[in-house]
């Protein structure tokens, strides 16, 4: 039975982790994800979980110890943000290649430099090709629900890949929101007991993990890792279907908001989708056919489904809360634009880099983007492919 409660994004994570009750959590504090570990440490101190909490000396060791624990046969989690994720970088790839079902909440924060503690997506976007499944969340409800689903996705035998569940630093992580949580018993059954087929602590069946893998086999191993990511969409869909049937809360690979008949649309991740909603509603009142697409699953990237969802739109703006520093635009821009390449009639696809380092983005800012798109739809002309929103030039 669902319980209505009010939690911050971070506490929604901590509450969910208490219910998942992992065997091991190895973590290190970093703003804005610190609350997760703090709240969870209190659960450990109060004996509410069976978890062995390892308070490591760095994020590199957080991921290393989580990898060790997961390989040993324990359900293992950690959480981080920004520089912490950056320090884990080396180990992210290793976690994925060892096919360890680690679930990691990521609270998105700008990467240094200059140092900044506020939200953008440069941290997790930089890790998009590390072999992790990435799920993005608009609000605390999605954080809670996606975390529950992430455990099932990660541990599915057809997948066995680590999963990041991303939410916006401060905007979501520190804002108190109403949400529904499930009973402890529901979660206990939902995640089930973790029973890996092979694990390092099985001393009767010794195995060598992390061997030197040279020209003869490395490629085959990377190929099978890539296949696991290709297997993931079917599992993600199945888990979402079961979750929807049991909780009434439905999830797809992305959310379409008034997109069916939209002529202009934006593609936007996380909390800014919440900002875009009233903008779309206002435009619709004025008779403007605006909509948006909010990706939920960014890795694996559902390119065909996205193409189908956007094929009828005339002009699209991809909103990137991270710059690509490639001389063109942000990372999501290229992925969306590439997804649409095979359409017989391709929409115009523009890019806006916005909100870096926590720069506020308002409904009016989003409206301004739609106004630009409406203009392009009308004239068929646009000055620049990629531009910045809300920056002093």
């Amino acid at each position: 039975m669902a319980n209505r409660t009010a939690l911050t994004g971070n506490d929604a994570v901590a509450a969910c982790m208490r219910q998942i009750n992992p065997d091991v959590v190895a973590a290190y504090p970093i703003t804005p994800s610190t609350d997760i570990v703090q709240s969870f440490a209190q659960f450990v101190a109060d004996g509410l979980v069976k978890t062995n909490l390892v308070t490591v000396e760095s994020e590199h060791s957080a991921m290393s110890a989580t990898i060790g624990a997961s390989q040993a046969g324990a359900r293992s989690m950690t959480a981080t943000s920004s520089q912490g994720l950056a320090l884990m970088w080396e180990m992210l790839y290793i976690a994925a290649s060892l096919r360890l079902p680690i679930v990691m909440p990521v609270v998105n924060r700008a990467l240094s430099g200059p140092i900044n503690i506020h939200c953008d997506h440069s941290d997790s976007m930089g890790a998009r090709d590390s072999g992790w499944i990435q799920i993005y969340c608009e609000n605390a409800q999605e954080v809670y629900d996606n975390l529950l689903q992430a455990v099932r996705i990660a541990e599915h035998p057809d997948v066995l890949l680590p999963v990041m569940v991303c939410q916006d630093g401060f905007i979501t992580s520190h804002a108190l929101e109403n949400l529904f949580t499930e009973d402890d018993e529901f979660v206990r059954q939902w995640v089930g007991e973790y029973k890996p087929d092979r694990y390092l602590l099985d001393v009767d069946k010794p195995m060598t993990i992390g061997a030197l893998d040279l020209q003869d086999f490395y490629f085959e191993h990377k190929r099978s890792q890539a296949e696991a990511m290709r297997n993931a969409p079917a599992v993600i869909a199945k888990v979402a279907e079961e979750f929807g049937a049991k909780t009434g809360r439905k999830y797809g690979f992305f959310e379409e908001y008034k997109l069916d008949d939209a002529e202009i649309a934006i593609v936007v991740l996380n909390s800014t989708a919440g900002t875009a909603r009233p903008a779309v509603d206002a435009l619709r009142k004025d008779g403007i056919k605006a909509g948006f697409l909010k990706p939920r699953v960014f890795r694996p990237f559902p390119h065909e489904m996205i193409a189908q969802a956007l094929k009828h739109v005339k002009v699209i703006a991809v909103m990137d809360r991270a710059d690509g520093f490639n001389g063109i635009g942000g990372p999501m821009f290229f992925e969306i634009r590439s997804s649409l390449y095979d359409l017989p009639k391709r929409p115009v696809v523009l890019n806006y880099v916005y909100g870096l380092g926590g720069r506020d983005v308002t409904t009016n800012d989003i409206k301004a983007v739609y106004n630009d798109l409406a203009q392009v739809a009308k004239t068929g002309k646009h000055d620049t492919l990629a531009s910045y929103l809300g920056v002093r030039e």
Binding site: D23, V24, A26, K50, T51, N52, V54, T55, V56, E57, S58, H60, S61, S64, A65, T66, I67, G68, A69, S70, Q71, A72, G73, A74, S76, E90, M91, I94, L98, L200, L201, D202, V203, P206, M207, T208, I209, G210, A211, L212, D213, L214, D216, F217
Partner: protein, 308 residues
């Protein structure tokens, strides 16, 4: 303490057929350490010679569960494995008694892995961390590390016409580990197998984190014949360059006191990496090194409560 005969009958955890160089000092250290465990072991290994030479896929020389993930994190990896064990044991999901051991070279321990080692030791995991110290990054081709002795010629501290090898003395990691106040710290050499195995057993049985620093020759880097590895390690001990001692629950004990302490030159002249020091203009470096060895040895004897 088991006799050598008994120990030789124990099944090897590191099986023959691995690809470590002939004469490599790491292999006997690893074998002697693992002989001391009377429980099954689970091993974490830092990136390095030992890792690359024992696990070229699809082969492995390891008869026990073994894991490598990266260079700087063997201590963090083994602490995660031990944390998993403690959690599963507490939940009644595992009942076997297991010892946990990590191996790293001096690069992976003194340098890039120092932070994760320090963290793991402070957290009190029941792990034994063993450094096989050959005094340079041998796996990548003999580059200097903070364990490289003063004066040594390495590929990144080469002896040239102006700079005579590494200018600064080595880091005293064993003392740094002692300062952590962990239950057991020891320095060992494979040349003194009885001492090594005894200490390894104490480390496994100490109930908390233990650190063992093992002198391990690399004949490629030290430049000597492969068959001389153990003899040169013994010279390291006999000259007091590498004192054998332990610190157990804070009590310092020198476990081997050479009857006649040999001059350091005997250790140095046996190795090509110090050859350039034997010239009139560089002799002062040997004198400085000898003075450093004497000072440390005297200091250690003063601290030692009970002489062997």
């Amino acid at each position: 303490m088991a006799s050598l005969k008994e120990l030789s009958r124990k099944p090897d955890v590191l099986a023959p057929g691995h690809r470590l160089c002939a004469g490599c000092g790491a292999a006997p250290v690893v074998r002697q350490i693992l002989m001391a465990s009377d429980k099954p072991v689970v091993i974490a290994n830092a990136t390095g010679c030992l890792e690359v030479s024992t696990t070229v896929f699809p082969y492995t020389a390891w008869e026990a569960p073994w894991m490598h993930s990266a260079f700087e994190n063997a201590a963090a990896t083994i602490s995660g494995i031990e944390a998993a064990y403690e959690s599963l044991k507490r939940q009644g999901k595992i009942d076997q008694e297991i010892n946990f051991v990590a191996f790293g070279g001096d690069g992976g321990t003194y340098d890039i892995g120092l932070q994760s080692l320090s963290g793991a030791m402070e957290r009190g995991h029941r792990i034994v961390y063993v450094c096989y110290d050959n005094g340079a990054y041998m796996n990548t081709g003999i580059q200097r590390s903070s364990a490289t002795p003063k004066g040594a010629d390495t590929t990144t501290s080469p002896a040239g016409s102006v700079v005579p090898g590494k200018p600064m003395p080595r880091k005293d990691l064993t003392s740094i580990m002692v300062a952590h106040g962990i239950p057991y710290v020891a320095q060992v050499s494979a040349s003194h197998w009885n001492d090594l195995v005894t200490k390894a057993k104490k480390a496994f049985d100490c109930g908390g984190p233990a650190f063992i620093n093992a002198l391990a020759s690399c004949n490629r880097g030290w430049r000597h014949l492969p068959e001389d590895s153990i003899a040169i390690a013994r010279l390291g001990v006999e000259t007091c360059y590498w004192p054998l001692y332990e610190v157990s629950e804070g009590k310092v004990r020198v476990t081997y006191k050479p009857r006649n302490k040999k001059p350091l030159v005997e250790f140095l002249k046996a190795q090509g990496r110090f050859r350039h020091l034997f010239t009139p203009e560089n002799e002062h470096i040997i004198e400085e090194m000898q003075a450093e060895v004497d000072k440390k040895w005297e200091g250690l004897l003063k601290k030692s409560e009970e002489l062997a």
